[in-house]
C-alpha cells in the first residue's frame, strides 16, 4: 500500500508532509508559446496536461497573487460527477476518473478520499429530481444510487432523518465514488509537475491587458511587463469578465461571493459528504477532523472576497437542522471566494471570437471537482485549436442557439 494512499482514511489523520521542493520562482521570459492567465487549479492543471498530453512546455502560468490562492484555496473540496445532463456528467465523470489516479499521476498525497456524497431530498419534487438524476447517472455509467431515509441514516448516522422536522429528509442520492481531496495539495501537485516540465509559474503578475492584432492574440501586458504569446488561455474564474473585457468580449457571467467555513478539529463524527440544496448547506469532515462547510451564493455581484453574515447564519441554522450534534461545534474561520456564474449554471470552455484566445470560465461552484477534467479538455482545446468532445457542448455560442445545459432547474443541486 502506498504510504500516501488515504482513500480509506478516516477523519483525524495527521496531514502528510509536502515535498521539500515545489517550484522555481522564475522571472517571466519575453515570449511563450502559451500563456495561461490564472494560476489556480484550472490554470495549473491545463499547463500540466498541455505538457503531459501534448508535449507543449513553453508555457507561462501568470498569477496575479499567489498560486492557487483564489477559489482553489477557498472551496469545500467536494468531488462528484452525478450531474444531470449528459454533457455535464461527461466532463465531470472524466474528471472523477482522473481524480482516481491523480495521486499516482502527480506523485503527491492529495488525500483524495472516496467517502461518498449524499445529496439530500427534502420535498417530493426534490425526490423526483433526485431520482431523475440517479437514473440518468446510471445510464451514463456513473455510480449513483437512490437511498431511502433509513439508508441515509446508515451511510451517515448523524443526519437527522426524523420525519418530525421542518424539512424532513425524504431520501438522498448517493455517489459512493465521490468524495473530497485536499485542495492545496492538489494545486501544488499540479504546480510541482508543471514546474518540473519547465513551465514557468509566475506569481504577483497581474494581466492588465491582452494584445490583439488582426483578430489574433499576440500577448499580454502584465504588472511585470509585456509577455508575447502564441496562444493565450484564460483561466481567471471570478475575474473572467474583467479579463474578457480587455479584448472587448462580454460574457454571460456574473461574479458572486460564495462563503465557506471550518470548525475546530473534532473526533470523527461524519463519515461522508452531505449536501442539501433545499436547506442550503453542505458539509464534510476533512482529514484532520475539521468540519468543512459551504452555503448558498450571495445574491449580489461582488469581487470583495467576502459575503454577508445572514448567509452564514442561515447555513448554521440549516446545519443544526440536519446535524443536531453540531450544536456546540465552533466556527473557527470563514472566508469567501468569487464564483463566476452563467445563466444555465454550466461552464464555458472553448474558443472565443479572437483567434488563439481561449476561454475557461463560468464554473460557478463546480470548479474544484472539475480541475483535472477541465485541465485535460482545455489543454486539448488550446493545443489543437478545437474543443475536446468533453467541452464542445460548453461553447459560448450555446447562449445564441439556445442549446443550454441547464443544471439548476432539473438537477436542483448546486456545488
Amino acid at each position: 500500500m502506498h504510504p500516501y494512499d488515504n482513500a480509506q482514511a478516516t477523519p483525524g489523520d495527521v496531514l502528510p508532509d509536502h515535498p521539500d521542493f515545489l517550484w522555481r520562482n522564475p522571472d517571466p521570459k519575453p515570449s511563450y508559446d502559451v500563456v495561461i492567465v490564472g494560476g489556480g487549479g484550472h490554470g495549473l492543471a491545463t499547463a500540466y496536461y498541455l505538457a503531459k498530453n501534448h508535449g507543449i512546455t513553453d508555457i507561462a502560468v501568470l498569477e496575479k497573487g499567489w498560486l492557487a490562492g483564489g477559489n482553489m484555496a477557498r472551496n469545500t473540496t467536494i468531488i462528484r460527477s452525478n450531474y444531470l445532463w449528459d454533457e455535464s456528467s461527461g466532463i465531470y465523470e472524466h474528471s472523477l476518473k482522473l481524480w482516481e489516479t491523480l495521486e499516482e499521476d502527480l506523485d503527491y498525497p492529495i488525500l483524495f478520499s472516496q467517502r461518498g456524497v449524499l445529496n439530500l431530498a427534502h420535498s417530493l419534487q426534490d425526490v423526483r429530481d433526485s431520482k431523475r438524476r440517479v437514473y440518468a447517472n446510471q445510464l451514463n455509467g456513473i455510480d449513483a444510487e437512490w437511498l431511502e431515509p433509513e439508508e441515509v441514516a446508515e451511510v451517515c448516522p448523524i443526519v437527522n432523518t426524523s420525519p418530525d422536522v421542518r424539512h424532513p429528509v425524504l431520501g438522498a442520492t448517493y455517489q459512493p465514488r465521490a468524495g473530497i481531496a485536499k485542495h492545496d495539495y492538489v494545486a501544488w501537485g499540479f504546480a510541482r509537475r508543471a514546474d518540473a516540465y519547465g513551465i514557468d509559474l509566475i506569481q504577483d503578475c497581474e494581466v492588465i491587458g491582452i494584445d490583439v492584432q488582426d483578430g489574433r492574440v499576440t500577448g499580454v501586458c502584465t504588472t511585470r511587463g509585456r509577455i508575447a504569446a502564441g496562444k493565450v488561455a484564460l483561466a481567471g474564474a471570478g475575474h473572467s469578465s474583467v479579463l474578457a473585457a480587455m479584448v472587448g468580449l462580454r460574457l454571460p457571467l456574473q461574479s458572486h461571493p460564495l462563503q465557506a467555513l471550518v470548525s475546530e478539529l473534532l473526533e470523527p463524527v461524519h463519515p461522508t459528504v452531505v449536501m442539501s440544496n433545499a436547506v442550503h448547506v453542505y458539509v464534510s469532515q476533512a482529514h484532520k477532523g475539521e468540519l468543512v462547510m459551504g452555503a448558498g451564493i450571495d445574491s449580489y455581484n461582488g469581487y470583495g472576497q467576502r459575503g454577508s453574515f445572514h448567509i452564514l447564519e442561515r447555513q448554521m441554522a440549516a446545519a443544526l437542522e440536519l446535524f443536531p450534534v453540531f450544536a456546540r461545534a465552533h466556527m473557527l474561520r470563514t472566508w469567501a471566494g468569487i464564483v463566476d456564474v452563467t445563466p444555465d449554471a454550466s461552464p464555458i470552455v472553448g474558443l472565443t471570437p479572437v483567434e488563439n484566445l481561449y476561454l475557461n470560465c463560468g464554473w460557478g461552484t463546480g470548479g474544484f471537482k472539475a480541475t483535472p477534467g477541465v485541465g485535460w479538455a482545455y489543454a486539448h482545446t488550446v493545443a489543437t485549436g478545437e474543443p475536446h468532445p468533453y467541452n464542445a457542448p460548453f461553447s459560448l455560442d450555446r447562449f445564441t442557439t439556445g442549446a443550454l445545459v441547464d443544471e439548476h432547474g432539473a438537477a436542483a443541486v448546486a456545488h
Partner: protein, 107 residues
Amino acid sequence: MQLITCPWCGQREEIEFHYGGQAHIAYPEDPYALDDEQWAQYVFFRDNPKGPFAERWVHAAGCRRWFNALRDTVTHEFLAVHDIRAQHPLTTGTAPAAHQRKGQEVS
C-alpha cells in the same frame, strides 16, 4: 450584511431586498429586428465589472419598489440610489434577468 438605502423606506438590512443585476438594459424596441446573437446578448449577457456597477434592487420585504443603485462590487459601498421613476422615465427601464433565483418567498 449590507445596509441598503431604499429611496422610499430608508436604510434597511440586505435581507429585505432582492438583487436585480445590471440596470439600464431596456427591452429591445423590436426584438424581431435582432438576430439571434443580438437577442442572446439581451437575454443572457450582462456587464460584470469590478468596481462601480449600475444595478437594480427591489425592496421586496418593504415597499416592493424597484430602484437603481450605483454600487462598488469590490467594497460593496452604495455610491448612489435612485428611484426609477424620478430619475429614469420610461426609456431607461430595465429588464428582468432571464433566470431568477429559486427561493421560498411570500405572495
